[in-house]
């Protein structure tokens, strides 16, 4: 009788959790919307990654390669891009992708009424100005730019832009309202219970771009190997852990302090996902104390970076004093250089700069998936060793954003979301502070180098620019880059494949064994 009761309860309980072979993944919050690149956040972007594809996409190394395009040609004046589309690509509604669809999408993105997050990047107000998009036959699209750009394709591929995903015009109703994303990706939109879960279904008609049999960032082999994916909204880490241990969850991001405990469980696999996101001490170079490069360099030299990184990341991170992520193809020997950990030298720099124990405040937040507070506490202790008078102010995330936006801070223990092209990362913190108070560094040389990196397309020339930029950073030290983001995930041991890319779930070429 008891067995029957338990079996009955279990079967009823399963009714609400997953279909037969869905991969169940925890996410800390719900989607903002189901419109790629419009009303979005990180969670929304990474669900959309499975549904939509752009003309180009990032590789794991941060390079841009064709995705819906088979190849991309650039005119001799570097102003016209020609995208040759792959043959046989279908939308989730069965219709064949054509050049007209691409033109429709780009006109929609460039229409201010769409409210595309990245409109500014492509309409001339930002780095790129697209002057024309047109179809040439059924499988070729040309896009013309006002002037050459080194980051045009990198911008197209970025997550914040919804990967500039190409959707079927059937995604939008006749009255202009958005119905659902009908993309070309390996999974299709199936169901959204707001506040509970999003379910994607396997797209049987999916064809991967050219590949060597392995997944590679957003390109490479992209076969959907499970029947569906269910992204469940589970904000509490303890509940996530219980879900993993009970086998209800197949994959979830977990706090790094659970690594040791989870590794003891043979049913669970711990995955450390490295990303191009950056952890740094973001400094206000106009602050009376921090305006002196000597004080900023002393702060950098007071930090034992390997120790700080190990403690703040629970041993999952590696120190990196460069703005360029370690996995980037631009991370060379120059980028590996950083100021030495040297307390005596730091004290000398402070004395030379005329520092007289003026208080320095580090702003930190306690958002569970960010190491802001841990970094601040350890940095504070290390900086005090060099004689710096440091205190920590803990704010909620929204207030911290407000303070950075207004420029009212001395140091922020900050994390920057992944930007796979270094020039896009520079845009986060370099520029004219009079126009944008949130920026960290307004050195004219740094601004010139950033602009050069935005315009230059040749990788070798870009490398030289990035190296000059790094040398300048070591001299001026506008902020201290600490380590690249590392995000800890845990999966069932039945999961086969590599389910994490850039710190987020990437669930093609991933399967579950019985």
């Amino acid at each position: 009788m008891k067995t029957i009761l338990i079996a009955g309860i279990a079967s009823l309980a399963l009714t609400g959790t997953a279909c037969a072979r869905d991969l169940v993944v925890a996410q800390s919050q719900d989607l903002r919307s189901n419109i790629p690149g419009v009303n979005r956040d990180g969670t929304t972007d990474h669900v959309m990654l499975h549904i939509v594809e752009g003309l180009v996409g990032y590789t794991a190394g941060g390079q841009v390669k064709p995705l819906l395009a088979k190849s991309v040609d650039l005119s001799s004046d570097r102003r016209t891009y020609t995208f040759h589309l792959r043959q046989g690509v279908h939308f989730h509604n069965g219709k064949v992708l054509t050049a007209d669809d691409v033109v429709w999408n780009w006109r929609r993105y460039l229409d201010p009424a769409t409210k595309w997050t990245c409109l500014r990047d492509f309409n001339g107000k930002g780095a790129v100005h697209i002057t024309d998009v047109k179809a040439v036959g059924s499988d070729t699209v040309t896009m013309s730019l006002e002037k050459p750009s080194g980051i045009f394709l990198a911008l197209m591929a970025r997550a914040e832009c919804g990967f500039s995903g190409i959707i079927s015009p059937d995604s939008v109703a006749a009255d202009g309202t958005f119905k659902e994303p009908i993309g070309t990706g390996p999974f299709k939109w199936a169901e959204w219970k707001k506040g509970q879960y999003v379910r994607l279904a396997k797209f049987d008609g999916y064809v991967s771009p050219d590949n060597d049999g392995k997944p590679d960032g957003a390109v490479g082999s992209k076969r959907p190997l499970v029947d569906g994916i269910k992204f469940m909204d589970i904000p509490d880490a303890a509940t996530v852990k219980a879900g993993l241990e009970s086998g209800v969850l197949d994959l979830a991001e977990v706090p790094s302090d659970l690594i040791t405990e989870l590794k003891r469980n043979k049913k669970i696999r711990v995955i450390v996902g490295h990303s191009s996101g950056k952890n740094l001490l973001y400094m206000q170079t106009r602050d009376p104390v921090l305006s002196k490069p000597g004080v900023r360099r002393a702060i950098a030299m007071s930090l034992d970076l390997p120790q700080l990184t190990a403690a703040a990341s629970n041993g999952t991170g590696e120190p990196n004093g460069s703005a360029i992520p370690q996995r980037s193809s631009y991370y060379d020997d120059v980028q590996k250089r950083r100021l030495p950990y040297d307390i005596a030298a730091a004290k000398k720099e402070l004395a030379a700069a005329g520092y007289k124990s003026e208080p320095i405040t580090i702003i930190a937040n306690k958002r569970s998936n960010l190491p802001s507070f841990q970094m601040a506490v350890i940095a504070q202790a290390m900086m005090q060793q060099a004689g710096l008078n440091v205190k920590i102010e803990v704010l909620d995330f929204a207030t911290q954003v407000d303070r950075r936006r207004s420029g009212k801070y001395q140091i922020i223990s900050q994390t920057i979301a992944p930007r796979l092209d270094p020039a896009l990362l520079y845009e986060f913190f370099v520029g004219d502070k009079n126009k944008n108070a949130s920026l960290m560094w307004d050195d004219p040389k740094a601004i010139a180098l950033m602009n050069a990196a935005i315009e230059e397309a040749d990788p070798a020339k870009r490398q030289a620019i990035f190296d000059q930029f790094h040398e300048l950073m070591l001299k001026e030290m506008p902020g201290v880059f600490l380590y690249d983001m590392s995000i800890v995930w845990a999966s069932t041991s039945k999961l086969v494949g590599d389910p994490v890319w850039e710190g987020n779930a990437r669930l093609w070429e991933v399967s579950l064994t019985p």
Partner: protein, 314 residues
């Protein structure tokens, strides 16, 4: 009765106006810009400024309040800044999810706690009293999030009897929906039973010491008759009021339970909205909580005469 109800409803109007003003201004005093949060860290200042204009946040607080109040009076609570959903539909949907847990839990807690409190008072200083009062104190002292996690680990993980996470609406599937409610309801029942046992015992003790109870016993009435007819009806009033207060408090405040058990209720919505500075949703949630307080207190007052004949709803 009708006049009493109307009077109370009219009296609720200034309360709701004051709540609206307080909520509206306090929400805007919290640092943090919804437009900046909404657009993320790639947005430039001109984009944030444009969104602030779109959202009406560039206007003065007084102007914003007047516009919002006017819209609310027309039944338009606005749209969520975060996901664009109509606030009224969003908030009421989430409220109903929370309400089914809270009402069920408080009803069950009341059914358990009131007789337990009466028995504890009736057998004051006995072993039964000691056990009941001791248990009540322990139950009251356990934080709900910890209790919830313990129940989750026991019934979900160790025994495997109940689902560890997820939620199914009763509207979609009654049986599965009820199963998903067991753990959150059980957590609340255990916690609230403690408070209600203590209240029920205290008010029963007060009545038991009154002369008319001694008189009733002297008349030769059975203990059951004394307890039921003369003690319980007079002692239940304060507990009933307490039940109303607990109900009102919990309807807006089980965010922790909802987070632990992944229930998409009002509390979680409110916390998420505060973190995202989603002003219209925060205002909608808090206004609904205030209205529910008023309605529950009115309901409690209207039913009071049934339990205590000395009280007349006039």
């Amino acid at each position: 009765m009708l006049r009493f109800t109307l009077n109370r409803l009219v009296m609720a109007v200034p309360t709701l106006v004051l709540v609206s003003i307080a909520v509206f201004s306090l929400v805007r005093l919290i640092p943090g810009d919804p437009a900046a949060l909404m657009l993320g860290d790639i947005a430039q200042p001109d984009q944030i400024a444009a969104l602030r204009v779109d959202l009406g946040l560039d206007k003065s607080i007084v102007q914003q309040f007047v516009i919002w109040t006017g819209n609310v009076l027309r039944g338009d609570f606005g749209r969520s800044i975060v996901n664009g959903e109509p606030v009224f539909a969003l908030v009421t949907e989430r409220f109903l999810v929370s309400a089914q847990i809270v009402v069920l839990a408080v009803a069950l807690a009341g059914c358990l706690a009131v007789p337990a409190g009466v028995i504890a008072a009736w057998r004051q200083n006995s072993l039964a009293d000691l056990v009941l009062v001791g248990s009540a104190t322990v139950l009251l002292s356990i934080p709900t999030f910890w209790l919830g996690l313990l129940l989750l680990l026991l019934f979900g993980l160790k025994l495997g009897w109940l689902p560890v996470l997820g939620y199914v609406s009763i509207r979609d599937n009654i049986a599965a929906g009820l199963i998903y409610l067991v753990l959150p309801v059980m957590t609340l029942v255990i916690h609230e039973t403690g408070a209600l046992i203590r209240m029920s015992r205290a008010s029963t003790l007060e009545v038991l010491r009154l002369d008319y109870v001694t008189h009733a016993r002297a008349k030769g009435l059975s203990e059951a008759a004394v307890l039921w007819k003369h003690v319980f009806r007079n002692a239940f009033g304060p507990t009933w009021t307490m039940i109303g207060l607990i109900l009102g408090h919990l309807l807006g405040g089980i965010a922790v339970i909802e987070t632990v058990f992944t229930v998409p209720g009002l509390g979680r919505l409110m916390v998420d909205s505060i973190l995202a500075r989603d002003y219209p949703v925060i205002q909608g949630c808090l206004l609904l909580v205030a209205v529910s307080y008023v309605v529950i207190n009115l309901f409690v007052d209207l039913l009071y005469p049934i339990f205590d004949p000395r009280v007349v709803a006039e």
